[in-house]
């Protein structure tokens, strides 16, 4: 299927500006998201990749206003939806936006599905709420959505409880729930991790179809670089609560520039021969309670210098006017990595 990036100077559908979402923990404040900026235009897919624990999910939960509070809160920054601040919207109005305008597929389906209701009841509830249709119509719709996401015998499966389904089926139920409301923005947090590659391909095609039909935008969080390559128009790479690199997908995959991004690509098992050890990024991810000074990647970066410990590298365009942005002091040295 054709990808059609439609980025331009129009107001982005979603824009994050220097967003910070922090948690209170026993060991102090965990700065899970600590200055994240990115934008998504209409009909565009932004892939977000990066270190486990770097704040990808918490960023998404912040947009959905689902960060558990306490212990979490949005410390500062802006979340703009169609140019308007979401943070300022009262709870009640926000509930209407969530579901109708923005829907989310969660990383762990069991956390989002209620174990005591059948999956049909849960999809029906979502569509009745958001489309104002009656129970019979909602049931027909629920069966249809289950069919669309590739669940066999949907007429029977609609009465299953979540625990009666396989991991991948639960994931698809959640996708069906999110899609039922025709959102303008779909936030998909590892939507296909639990799915085999054939169904993964089917789900990604379904997402693309909806995107073409309805101009839906997608925020796609995944560590599967293959999925990003095939689906995303733009890519943001996160490390330790920040975006360290951003570019369109061809540029980022063709020539990654940040030392972390370079290391990430090198860890792909496709590149290792049989019996060869996989390449890893040495060292341990810093704690969100105590990020290193300066560049947060410096404790694991092969080319770090004193300057990296002192100054935090800003996320800036590679050259004036370029859409490709990178946060690293030593781009030239990184070329040699």
């Amino acid at each position: 299927m054709e990808k059609s990036p439609k980025s331009d100077a129009r107001t982005p559908l979603l824009e994050l500006r220097d967003l910070r979402t922090w948690f209170r923990t026993d060991e102090g404040t965990a700065k899970a998201v600590d200055g994240v900026s990115y934008r998504i235009h209409d009909g565009e897919t932004l892939g977000v990749v990066g270190e486990s624990g770097s704040g990808k999910s918490v960023t998404a939960l912040s947009v959905m206003r689902l960060v558990p509070s306490p212990p979490g809160w949005v410390e500062s920054g802006e979340i703009l939806f169609r140019g308007e601040s979401l943070l300022a919207v009262p709870d009640e109005e926000f509930r209407r936006i969530r579901g109708n305008e923005i829907a989310m597929i969660f990383q762990e389906p069991m956390t989002a599905l209620n174990p005591v209701y059948t999956v049909g009841d849960q999809i029906m509830e979502a569509v009745m709420l958001h489309r104002g249709i009656d129970a019979d119509a909602a049931r027909v719709h629920a069966v249809e959505m289950l069919r669309k996401v590739g669940i066999p015998s949907p007429e029977a499966r609609v009465d299953n409880y979540p625990h009666e389904m396989s991991g991948g089926m639960r994931q698809r139920v959640m996708i069906a729930m999110a899609m039922s409301c025709d959102p303008s923005l779909l936030i998909a947090d590892e939507p296909t991790t639990a799915l085999d590659v054939t169904i993964q391909a089917q789900i990604l095609d379904l997402i693309r179809e909806l995107q073409e039909e309805m101009g839906m935008s997608v925020l796609l969080i995944t560590h599967d670089l293959g999925v990003v390559a095939e689906t995303a128009h733009k890519v943001a790479v996160m490390y330790a609560g920040k975006v360290v690199e951003y570019a369109d997908v061809e540029t980022l995959f063709g020539r990654p520039r940040h030392p972390y991004t370079i290391g990430l690509f090198r860890s792909l098992p496709d590149l290792a021969g049989p019996g060869e050890r996989l390449v890893t990024i040495p060292g341990i991810v810093p704690s969100a309670n105590a990020f290193p000074s300066g560049c947060r990647f410096r404790t694991r970066c092969p080319i770090a210098t004193d300057r990296c410990a002192q100054e935090e590298p800003p996320l800036v365009p590679l050259e004036a006017g370029s859409e490709h942005t990178v946060a690293c002091h030593h781009l030239e040295e990184a070329e040699a990595l």
Binding site: T25, S52, E108, P109, S153, F253, L264, P269, L278, V285
Partner: protein, 352 residues
């Protein structure tokens, strides 16, 4: 290990008695309906599978979502009761085999030490009210291993091995990201130094660099202690890298088994071919040539007659609708269950 070393190890393994020999494993779940919960049918989640796992070997189970991989893994460990079959287990190549499915009570509990699982959905398998340190220490306590200080040290070293900082031990599961939680599950499975670990999507929630770290760790433990793995994963590039052998499942049955290179370089079954062609590549310029799978996925409640795959198979013939194809040999160690493929093999075989 270098390639010749691995080949040698594989040859040795084939000669020795395996760690696990599974015959005719079935797990059927009753389907209930109505107020009286009458049983109206069965989900044939696993419907007669055979496989072996050698000492120090990694066998991967791959296949469509819902084809029964998790159910097979959980039945082996008796986390759910299998409907039929036997699973002969030998702690060492020389020990007498015991049937895991025939064991009861105390014997089963003591064997559980040897057999561990890393769960697909870490959130569902960790108690939200127990700190991760206690979750990891729990199996050690149950088996009466170590005093308090020793337990703490052991937990700290396990956390470090899976790439987490030891000071996270007193945090609760909800304070972790998805991938961090997955690693807690891995640390817990490693705690008892088992002989076999069922890794159910164990690395799928991890970014590729941490994934690489965990895979290296699993390999190191295998080289050091001769651990065996049943590796369930959807990411086929990981499967290709980590497996000695691969079994491809479709709707409760194994349709093809072979060495990892045999399956990936010379797949025979039409389902295996479709599966491999769907792998997404980390290269936006490379659009995969897909072998599309058409048709609806059939239900394990009423699987198609004959070969379960016939409703979606490009090669299907009349007899595929009538009889299940018995496995045919492609090459030593490589077997495929498909009527037309078996015929083609027989024709091309020398001497026929």
């Amino acid at each position: 290990m270098s390639t010749p070393d691995r080949k040698l190890a594989a040859a040795k393994r084939e000669a020795a008695a395996p760690l696990l020999e599974v015959h005719g494993l079935k797990k059927h779940f009753p389907v209930r309906k109505g107020l009286l919960s009458r049983v109206v049918g069965h989900v044939k989640a696993v419907d007669g599978v055979d496989f072996t796992v050698g000492h120090g070997e990694t066998l991967s189970l791959v296949g469509e979502s819902g084809c029964g991989k998790t159910t097979a893994g959980r039945s082996l460990l008796r986390l759910i009761e299998p409907t039929a079959g036997e699973a002969l287990y030998r702690a060492t190549p020389d020990s007498a085999p015991v049937d895991l499915f025939g064991l009861g009570g105390r014997r089963l509990r003591s064997l559980r030490r040897d057999l561990q699982i890393i769960f697909q959905d870490p959130y569902a398998s960790l108690n939200p009210r127990v700190t991760v340190g206690n979750a990891i220490a729990e199996p050690l306590r149950v088996h009466g291993i170590g005093n308090r200080g020793e337990l703490e040290d052991r937990v700290a070293s396990l956390l470090t091995r899976v790439g987490l900082r030891p000071d996270v031990a007193n945090r609760f599961p909800h304070e972790f990201s998805g991938g961090q939680r997955q690693r807690v599950g891995i640390a817990r499975a490693l705690a008892l130094e088992p002989r076999l670990i069922v890794c159910d999507e164990a690395v799928s929630a991890l970014d590729v660099s941490i994934q690489a770290q965990i895979i290296n760790l699993l390999k190191d433990l295998q080289d050091e202690f001769g651990l065996s793995y049943i590796f369930i994963a959807h990411d086929l590039s990981v499967v290709k890298y980590i497996s000695d052998r691969v079994a491809v499942m479709y709707l409760g049955r194994i349709v093809e088994t072979g060495g990892a290179d045999q399956i990936f370089d010379a797949p025979q079954h039409p389902y295996t071919r479709a599966l491999l062609s769907a792998i997404p590549h980390a290269d936006p310029r490379r659009r995969a040539e897909r072998v599309p799978l058409t048709g609806e996925i059939p239900s394990p409640i009423s699987p198609p007659s004959g070969c379960h795959f016939h409703t979606r198979c490009p090669l299907a013939e009349d007899r595929c609708r009538q009889a299940w194809p018995e496995p045919a040999s492609v090459a030593p160690g490589h077997r495929v269950s498909c009527h037309p493929v078996a015929d083609a093999l027989a024709k091309s075989a020398p001497g026929s």
